[in-house]
Amino acid sequence: MRGTDYIIKRTAFALVTIFVAITLNFIIFRAAPGDAVTGERCRNCTKEFKAQLRHELGLDKSTWEQYVIYLKQLAHGDLGYSFKNNLPVGPQLWQPLKNTLPMIALGTAFSIIFGILTGVIAAWRRGTAVDRVSVLGGLGFYSLPTQWLGLMLIFYVAPLVSLPTSGIKDPYLFITDPGWWPAFVDRMKHMILPSLTLGLVLYGEYTLIVRSAMLETLGEDYVLTARAKGLKNWTIVRKHALRNSMLPITTLVFLSLGYIVGGAILIESVFNYPGIGLLTYDAVFEKDYPILQGAFLVLTVSVVVANYIADLLYFRLDPRITE
């Protein structure tokens, strides 16, 4: 019963958070000076032309009216139409999102695997050279600006391993039908550097948090007991230390999963990667409110859903959480 209450509360909290975020997204973009029509410059962009354009886009209505219309559309699953090309927002978000998700999945998988591995090793070998190198490496990657790291990979890694530095596919390959395998290989090649950039930044963060969580559990009495019982090192780490460190690690991983969709903006602009980040970047400059609202809705929902899943996992990982 307690579990049901917990889930209901978490669900209600997630829904309210999404609603508040939707409202804030709507207000924030309109708080900036100018709108999608302001930037229109042409020989015939007279006041009358701009007024007509505002009317067509609904920008001449009061902010409150626009908000009510937006909520009604959203309730019907309609994200509206782009101000720039008059096409529905939903499909325009879907393709970039499909491009972004594999890229961040690859980068996140890399960071989780190597971050946990180095974090565990560093904690187990505390005070040794291995620990110092892991901590320094983790701090270094965590501190590097994402776009700078991306540029360094473009300048120094890409030429060494002949990896493409821009876009999502080799356009020349698709002049003729290359077949699915060369197309797949080409897609993977284009994904490696953006994913590696994301992976390295997250790797640093994961290493430090995992090491810290592991050090805490390795100092517990039950670990000392396990050692006294003569258990193998790997068994102590896997069954006793790592399992009890999973709570902070889970929090971090799921929080990161939510935010990395937004974090992809920097990576995608450096690598010209046509994902949700690049779409958002362009929409900001074009003041294309429907696209921005749609993109931020995706970001908001991904953060909230990631937190929601983390909350549910807490319940599974640590039953004390509801008490």
Binding site: A32, P33, G34, T38, G39, R41, C42, R43, N44, C45, T46, K47, K50, E56, N85, N86, L87, L151, I154, F155, A158, P159, P164, T165, S166, G167, I168, P171, Y172, F174, I175, S269, V270, F271, N272, P274, L278, Y281, D282, V284, F285, E286, K287
Partner: protein
């Protein structure tokens, strides 16, 4: 077939600015009371109608667009199977892709990298005149309520005398620019008025003129405009202004710093208001395209070879459209109309030269530098032309091919 009701002296350059979409292409996209046309993207949805040497095969807005040779082209057949144009958000990434051999040609080389690239034996770097002119614009609306001394052409001329154009050329553009004095560039010869020259850099003379105008320096070194009546009536105030700069323009912060340092030497204080391009334009026109609140701005204009377009932007009817200075001069507007229907090239040239004289005197802008175009290509390719000519060529990419 296009018919004109009256004489037009620049028919072909005017046509260059129009896109022709035949009825049989657009008529199936007129649903929803014509609104569907806005969602129709001819470049992406094709088919492309044209008689050029290449046609668009694949289109990506911010990715790579593939052009293939047009089999029906009347002229020389291209040597290549396809040409791809890739859009880069980040010039460093573009440079790395070019150096790594991922790209065969790079249209616009980052200026600060151009000299280094010239030393590399794998690349050929070409540069030439472009049509981009960097401007220092002044709010020229006579109704502006504050800092009205900036409407005085003498004051604007003094400010122009503090601009170290050569430093902008050297520091911002690494030498790939030239001091400018008109909205037109030498590419528009013979319409560029070569009787005019950039205002000389002369801080001492500028200080003397301001002293003579009665703008004395205060205790903080900043000059004070006394309370005045008459044409420029206003209360006493310090010569402290804001310059709007669009954050998306290459090198704009360095350009501002050079301008600021020059003006400081004559006791004028300026602060930068860096805004994204859309917001900057909104601020210039504020409120509601009446051009009443801004003082100065830094921006650029990129014209065509024919001068018609850049001459049009300062007309009175461009308030809220192209105008970014609030300038309005009926005499100038009359000349603009006349140059469009001039009977001969010589007549048109005389009118255009006079129009440039008016702008040079009234100074809605002080032109800073005209920016070169710099392009680079791998030496394994041949047949490239000067960058700007390549863009204007009747047969772009027809001659390119791999050497050997």
């Amino acid at each position: 077939m296009i018919h004109y009701d009256k004489r037009v002296s620049n028919v072909l350059p005017q046509l260059q600015q129009f896109f022709i979409l035949p009825k049989h292409i657009w008529e199936s996209h007129t649903g929803n009371n014509g609104k569907d046309l806005k969602a129709f993207n001819p470049a992406a949805d094709g088919p492309i109608v044209g008689g050029g040497s290449f046609y668009i095969d694949q289109y990506q807005k911010k990715g790579t667009t593939i052009f293939k040779p047009n089999p029906g082209y009347y002229g020389t057949k291209p040597h290549v199977d396809a040409v791809g144009l890739t859009f880069y958000e980040n010039s460093d990434a573009m440079l790395a892709a070019f150096k790594g051999g991922e790209l065969d040609q790079m249209d616009t080389v980052p200026y600060l990298a151009a000299d280094d690239m010239k030393k590399d034996t794998n690349f050929t770097v070409l540069s030439g005149d472009g049509t981009e002119v960097r401007d220092f614009g002044f709010n020229s609306n006579p109704k502006k309520p504050k800092n009205r001394e900036l409407l005085d052409p003498d004051v604007k001329n003094v400010i122009a005398m503090t601009v170290d154009r050569q430093q902008i050329v050297d520091v911002v553009f690494a030498g790939y620019a030239k001091p400018a004095y008109s909205l037109l560039t030498p590419l528009s010869a013979p319409y560029l008025n070569t009787d005019l020259k950039p205002e000389p850099l002369d801080i001492d003379a500028a200080n003397q003129i301001l002293d003579g105008l009665g703008y004395k320096k205060g205790s903080d070194g900043i000059r004070v405009v006394p309370a005045t009546t008459g044409q420029y009536a206003q209360p006493e105030h310090r010569m402290s202004y804001e310059i709007i700069t669009p954050s998306g323009l290459y090198g704009i912060n360095r350009e501002f710093n050079i301008i600021r340092d020059g003006m400081k030497q004559i006791g004028i204080e300026v602060k930068q208001n860096s805004l994204d391009d859309t917001t900057a334009f909104e601020e210039i026109g504020a409120p509601d395209w009446k051009y009443l609140s801004f003082d100065m701005m830094l921006w650029d204009w990129v014209g065509y070879v024919d001068p018609d377009f850049v001459l049009s932007i300062v007309q009175c009817n461009q308030y809220g459209s192209w105008s970014d200075t609030g300038y309005c001069n009926p005499e100038y507007d009359k000349l603009y109309k006349e140059q469009g229907v001039a009977k001969s090239d010589q007549d048109r040239k005389d009118i255009v030269w006079r129009m440039q004289e008016i702008l040079y005197h009234d100074k809605p802008y002080v032109q800073l530098v005209q920016v070169d175009l710099v392009t680079a290509y791998q030496k394994s390719w041949t047949g490239q032309t000067q960058p700007f000519l390549n863009g204007l060529s009747k047969r772009p990419w027809v001659q390119i091919g791999q050497s050997g």
